[in-house]
Amino acid sequence: MFDLTGKTALVTGASGGIGGAVARALHARGAAVVLSGTRRDALDALAADLGSRAWAVPCNLSDADAVNALVGEAESAAGTGLDILVNNAGLTRDGLAMRMKDEEWSAVLDVNLTAAFRLSRAAMKGMMKRRWGRIISITSIVGVTGNPGQANYAASKAGLIGMSKSLAGEVAPRGITVNCVAPGFITSAMTDALSDDQKSRLLGAIPAGAMGTGDDIAAAVVYLASMEAGYVTGQTLHVNGGMAMI
């Protein structure tokens, strides 16, 4: 089950914790992986570690032209069409809404939501022709529950869910599924930035009693990318240790 041999995947934010775990998991199931992100060194290191079937293609997701070209570049690097797109890249610019600057709002929306839309739009063309495709966006529990101090981030993540449901309806007749994975509290560079006090408060709210890992998210992505999940579309798979049961 869940064999991805012969499939090519593009993972954005692959230099990060969750993105790296997702790329490794897809690769372990046989997929060829194109690793995108902003940190060239980290991408090259991951590609070298994976060995064959892996390429690093850096991209600044704030740059519209670069984003619009990325799917084509990924396909050239891999020498095949793109079968699986994982919109994982994300950034935060936290702050109370009353103090949030327009730039902080748009920086987050541009990368987390608009880039995901542009990449999906580009990827869908080839997927339509080949009658097979998987678009998986990494959203967040806060896209559904909201989170004080993260109006921009929560809006971008909620946006991914609404976008995915809409795309799912458009391309379902062509064998393309569009889904989201919504991590809860996952150990990553992003959660490392939280204070100990914030962390202990959050752990108390997780029935599983522990933070999740990148591998927990990667397993959900592998499932949604698989042939076996072909009848699952427009869904958000919550991976959060019971933190929110929705």
Partner: protein, 78 residues
Amino acid sequence: MSDVAERVKKIVVEHLGVDEAKVTENASFIDDLGADSLDTVELVMAFEEEFQCEIPDDAAEKILTVKDAIEFINANAK
């Protein structure tokens, strides 16, 4: 001219799975040939590939019939 028309009709027959006799020049993709909006996007992509041309979105929106497609391609393809 006739070559373009034949190739356009062949693409339409293949993509929409309709009887060749139905694909007249005045046939509307949506009203006469049963295409949905996704089919029309795919047809435009297929025309672009077959004729090595780019069909911008605003032009694509005006390609509603077989004749529209043939005329656009005759005017724009290399």
